[in-house]
Amino acid sequence: MSPRGVVRAALEKGLDLIGVCDHNSAENVLAVKRAAERHGLLVLGGMEVASSEEAHFLVFFDLDDDLLRFQELVYGHLSGTNDEKAFGQQVVADEDDGVTGFSDRLLIGASSLPAQTIIDAAHAGTGEGLVVAAHVDREAFSIIGQLGFIPEGLSLDAVEVSEHTTAEEARERFPDCRNYPVITGSDAHAPEDIGKRHTCFIMEDASVGEIKKALAGRDGRKAVC
């Protein structure tokens, strides 16, 4: 998926706001933000980081500097070199879909950072940070799939369910989901999947801070899915 392709697909689906999360990397986020700006599409910059438990977490920041600092932390806890034949090319692009480089890190792997460390780091930025446990209804690479439950006290801001499950079903099937706000997302890995599922946020502006208020149902903000 290229930055312009992502923006085009999101606009076609009528989305106002998208979150961009590459696996263990944020090197394409700023390009997508710039490509989106021209069209009035709002972008939350983030990363889908794999914890040492091999569970995926979506981490978003209001400030690009916080995101880039978080990326340094993840890169410092990621080992191995990519094998393009096995795992594909890891393109770094600019906002015009030009290829500016290739990442040679083993981004498919997991970091050695435990879930709570990731959450703490995401909440320790200069600006606001948001952590969502990804696709908790899936067996592979989700906190519930890997551990069987969500550890008590894990300070997640929300849990996300995939297109296969509704929020209501998730609360029924996985009682731990009742302790957190549940959102749905498309987990799009290809342009045609963008917008397959969405969550509607009622809020003042598109920021992590506002989303956190909406998830908590504070100050008249709401999240509906």
Binding site: K85, F87, I108, E139, A140
Partner: protein, 113 residues
């Protein structure tokens, strides 16, 4: 020992790579963490796991593993079978849970790493 010997001896169900069972097995590795397999499995090993998603094929191809055995009768996802065929990674299914299967593999002469 070759993959086909394991298939015969333990009644494994071959889901992909049926034409590649002449491969020698250098040893075995059992793990359900991809990062652990990436770090510690060795070329020619047979990998025992409960994961059925297609990432297992990419990991096995990258590490040059002889094949993958899924435990407890777990069926690989459709994408996994397709990718395994494309990458030439035999995927087999055992009815045994991991502990039982690995014990039998060890008894048959397969060793760790």
């Amino acid at each position: 020992m070759k993959l086909k010997d394991l298939v015969r001896e333990f009644g494994l169900e071959v889901k992909a790579g049926a034409g590649l069972l002449d491969r020698d097995v250098t040893g075995g590795y059992v793990s359900d963490l991809m990062s652990d397999v990436l770090a510690h499995a060795v070329d020619g090993n047979v990998w025992v796991t409960l994961h059925i998603h297609q990432n297992i094929v990419a990991v096995a191809a990258h590490k040059g593993l002889a094949g993958i055995i899924l435990v407890q009768g777990r069926q690989p996802e459709k994408d996994t079978v397709a990718k395994a065929a494309e990458e030439g990674i035999p995927v087999m299914v055992s009815a045994f849970p991991a502990f039982e299967l690995v014990g039998r593999l060890y008894k048959a002469g397969i060793r760790g790493a």
